[in-house]
């Protein structure tokens, strides 16, 4: 019996376009649907397929790539495919973590887009039985001086805070990066971390035919109808009203109740399986849980509590109304489940039964007491659960390297960089101040101050200074977490960009002394049907896999966001990496800031040429033939092992990673944050610009008590790492002499001149760094 599509879809079906295409399905996909059903789908079924076979739900372009990632590792309890990765941390505890994008909704309505992004990723965490303990938000926007960008930044930041602050999960880190490629398509990636008792691990499966399917949480309205199919899987433009679905509005208060109720249901062992409702709504939650357990479900559409009258069947089935959960419950526990929901003030309804036939069947007219369709009930749709999930279509996309693509410089044969700035006559201190005050490197305080970063009383190190550190109550342990993505280099060489992102994120965790446990990732790319975009995606996944293998890190989950393109073009490929690590003894924790005047300052690792993709190049430009710096994954692994051993052995007083803005910025930050200057000397190996401001990886600045210096240097050498003693911390200025026995080393041979010394007061550094972002965004005027 045909189901008619009404209202919302009228606009797209009115033209001569066949329905499946209007819903974003190709002719091939329609054929594949017919294959799986053995007949033509009716309209309701087609709507469900269109949502479930969207890129967002089915990973139809990326699945073959993602299969190549390493997923095994010490302690991994749940990996990709579950709502979140889960890794054991000892003491009977485990950590759950996952990152997800909400890019397109945030471009349409920044506040609600970001807010519901936070809500969605939190649900992934507590669905597993974990209490969410932290959020990190990785944000990317266009030109900060642009009015539209400012509107987006303001809305997104308020949205992240508005939701996270209310649910009482601290936002402890993230990123904020500006690049023109995000002008029409901002990125809002949110990572959440949860802590669970391992015995409470709960999976999103629907075992046991006869069990009840219970929907609890908010009622179902017309939120985000078409969001999953139309919005998430075709190129987004602002101006096409037909692609503007009704916006999803988040209710963090309802989410807070949902967290408490869900965790109580799990704690009391009342559920057999639990699944949050995200993209694809009821269609997705029912088919995924059934398919995972090899069961089916009979869904009584009339039983779904609604917020609005006259909702069409397809609207109920694909609505993305927020703050809802699906539980699979034994019949004898129904009353207890209802009691918990009632106490938390949440609507709760039995909407169906688990069946043995493997189909998702949808009826109207109710079920009888035995759980079968009542006499006179009408069956509206019947689809094998597998057809919607594990057996969904997979596309073999074609990738092609762009003709202008630069090959990654092979290790050992670096391209020479521009010797550019700063040379004699150009004050490197002025360059440093310009970098520190630039939108991408200035202090993020104006943003993260709008977040509650201390609720739950675990935050040992919050946003602002490298990785976040959260103590684990009742143990001596701490979790350390960060996110990173190197998009500029990914734009040049996606393999390298992804590998660098993994290296930097895990390095940020290792320098606290913590051992990285695993990786979650969010792959933000363009239209995969464009061979160049697909090549970027596949190269990035290869880089991600290679780096994770080299560093011994399992990939436990993630998210793919494609079609990030707007009228102004595709975004830079942005492989966002989240890493969580464990520090066994929080007493050994070290931070990035200088600790004590008189301490020795040491650089471990060495600069290699290559300024392309750096913040310095963004400001000053790079030579036309220049490439990004190479990454030696073996050395990266050795460096991280070294610093963890140094911290565990009490050798290091502080450790700071060299990343955006290079060594000079790393030193300036360590000095500002410690309120202690330094009298240092940097031996120039390639050129002053590359040594001071280049972003070659695998470098850290370590300080130690002078009496520990020898042991520290020895340890670094044992790991095969180059070490340079830069000087001593102290004073209220950052003073850096450049030279290599008075010269600039190889660069001098190529005509580069010795640059002047860098000499800036801490007060000037602080001024540039702390004011930069507010100025760039025009927030000075408001505040």
């Amino acid at each position: 019996m045909p189901v008619t599509l009404t209202a919302a879809s009228a606009a797209v079906t009115s033209a001569a376009v066949p329905l499946h295409r209007a819903l974003g399905l190709t002719d091939d996909e329609l054929d594949a649907i017919r294959d799986r059903l053995g007949r033509d789908p009716n309209h309701l079924e087609l709507a469900i397929f269109s949502v479930m076979w969207s890129e967002h739900c089915s990973y139809k372009s990326s699945k073959p790539l993602l299969r190549t990632l390493p997923t095994q590792g010490e302690g991994v309890v749940a990996g990709p495919g579950e709502n979140a990765g889960v890794i054991s941390i000892g003491d009977g505890l485990a950590v759950a973590f996952k990152i997800e994008s909400h890019n397109h909704p945030s471009a349409v309505e920044p506040y609600q887009g970001a807010a519901t992004g936070v809500g969605g990723i939190l649900r992934d965490i507590f669905t597993m039985g974990a209490r969410p303990i932290a959020v990190l938000d990785a944000l990317r926007f266009g030109d900060p001086g642009d009015v539209r960008t400012r509107h987006l930044v303001d809305g997104v930041v308020r949205g992240v805070g508005g939701y996270g602050n209310c649910v009482g999960v601290p936002t402890v880190g993230g990123e904020l990066v500006f690049d023109p490629s995000y002008q029409g398509n901002p990125l809002v990636n949110v990572m959440a971390i949860g802590l669970l008792d391992e015995r409470r691990l709960t999976l999103a499966a629907a075992p046991g035919p006869g069990n009840l399917v219970i929907l609890f949480g908010s009622t179902t309205g017309r939120d985000g109808i078409g969001g999953a199919s139309v919005l998430a899987s075709s190129t987004f433009t602002h101006d096409d009203p037909s692609k503007r679905p009704s916006v999803q509005v988040g209710d963090p208060f309802a989410e807070k109740l949902l967290i408490e109720a869900s965790l109580e249901l799990i704690e009391r062992e009342l559920v057999e399986g639990l699944q949050d409702l995200g993209a694809g709504g009821i269609s997705c939650a029912t088919s995924e849980t059934a398919d995972r357990a090899g069961t089916g479900m009979l869904i009584d559409l009339d039983a779904v509590p609604r917020r609005e009258p006259d909702m069409a069947a397809y609207e109920v089935m694909i609505s993305e109304s927020q703050e809802r959960m699906l539980a699979v419950v034994r019949p004898d526990r129904e009353a207890a489940v209802r009691e918990v929901c009632a106490r938390w003030g949440l609507p709760c309804a039995v909407i169906g039964r688990v069946t043995a036939d493997g189909d998702i069947a949808i009826v109207e007219g109710g079920l009888d007491d035995s759980g079968a369709a009542a006499a006179g009930a009408r069956e509206l749709a019947r689809i094998p659960a597998a057809a919607l999930t594990s057996d969904a279509i997979v596309h073999d996309r074609i990738g092609a390297a762009p003709v202008h693509a630069r090959a990654a410089p092979a290790p050992g044969i670096p391209e020479w960089p521009s010797d550019g700035l700063p040379e004699r006559g150009m004050d490197p201190g002025a360059v440093l101040l310009a970098l520190l005050g630039s939108p991408n490197l200035a202090s993020r305080r104006p943003v993260f101050e709008q977040y509650d970063s201390t609720v739950q009383v675990n935050t040992v190190a919050g946003p602002g200074r490298g990785a976040a550190v959260l103590r684990v109550k009742g143990t001596t342990k701490a979790l350390v977490a960060t996110t990173d993505a190197n998009a500029p280099v990914s734009g040049i060489d996606p393999w390298l960009g992804a590998a660098l992102s993994v290296a930097e994120a895990s390095r940020n965790v290792s320098i606290t002394g913590a051992r990285p446990l695993g990786v979650t990732n969010c792959l933000n790319f363009g239209d995969p049907t464009r061979p160049e975009a697909f090549w970027q995606l596949s190269e990035a996944v290869r880089g991600l896999g290679d780096a994770c293998r080299a560093l011994g890190l399992p990939v436990t989950g993630g998210n793919v966001s494609l079609y990030n393109e707007s009228a102004s073009g595709a975004i830079l490929p942005t492989p966002e990496i989240g890493v969580v690590g464990i520090l066994d003894d929080i007493a050994t924790l070290i931070g990035p800031a200088f600790v004590e005047a008189g301490d020795s300052v040491v650089l471990v690792g060495e600069a290699v040429p290559g300024l392309a993709g750096s913040e310095y190049a963004r400001l000053a430009g790079a030579a036309p033939g220049d490439g990004p710096p190479v990454l030696d994954l073996e050395r990266e692994a050795a460096l991280q092992r070294f610093i963890r051993e140094a911290v565990a052995g009490g050798l290091a007083a502080s450790a700071q990673d060299v990343s955006g803005g290079g060594l000079a910025v790393a030193l300036a930050e360590a000095a500002m944050w410690g309120g202690i200057g330094g009298r240092l000397r940097i031996p120039v190996a390639s050129s002053p610009a590359a040594d001071l401001f280049g972003e070659s990886p695998s470098r850290i600045v370590v300080t130690c008590r002078p009496r520990r210096l020898e042991a520290l240097v020895l340890l670094a050498r044992q790991h095969g790492l180059p070490v340079d003693e830069l000087g001593v911390a102290g004073g209220d200025r950052l003073l850096i002499d450049l030279g290599n026995g008075g010269a600039t080393g190889p660069a001098e041979g190529r005509g580069s001149h010795v640059a002047d010394a860098l000499d800036v007061s801490l007060a000037d550094l602080e001024h540039a760094w702390s004011r930069g972002l507010g100025r760039a965004l025009g927030w000075d005027e408001v505040d």
Binding site: V108, V247, V249, D251
Partner: protein, 96 residues
């Protein structure tokens, strides 16, 4: 030149979730109030406009409402002219 006082009533569009309205409804029980339903919570912005005439003044308010005061994706608004002598009158606001 004349001055006019307006109010812009901004409310969540029909169909858009209104968590505030729901919260108010949820609290009525504690207050012992019955028979109240369909609560929607929005904003009310009152402002004074000086313009050549009433039509010009209203045009300014319409623009302000559409571009700044309401978010057209999720909110609807209505502009109404009100007496300058409202309780929130501030000095200098004329009667129009």
């Amino acid at each position: 030149m004349s001055t006019h006082r307006f109010a812009v009533n901004v409310t969540p569009k029909p169909g858009i979730l209104d968590p505030q309205g729901r919260a108010v409804e949820g609290s009525l029980g504690h207050l012992g109030i019955e028979g109240v339903s369909a609560v929607r919570v929005g904003r009310r912005v009152e402002l004074t406009v000086a313009a050549v005439d009433a039509a010009a003044a209203r045009a300014v308010v319409e623009r302000l409402a559409a571009e700044l005061l309401a978010n057209p994706l999720i909110e609807a608004y209505v502009v109404e002219e009100i007496a300058g002598a409202s309780s929130t009158l501030s000095i200098g606001a004329g009667e129009g």
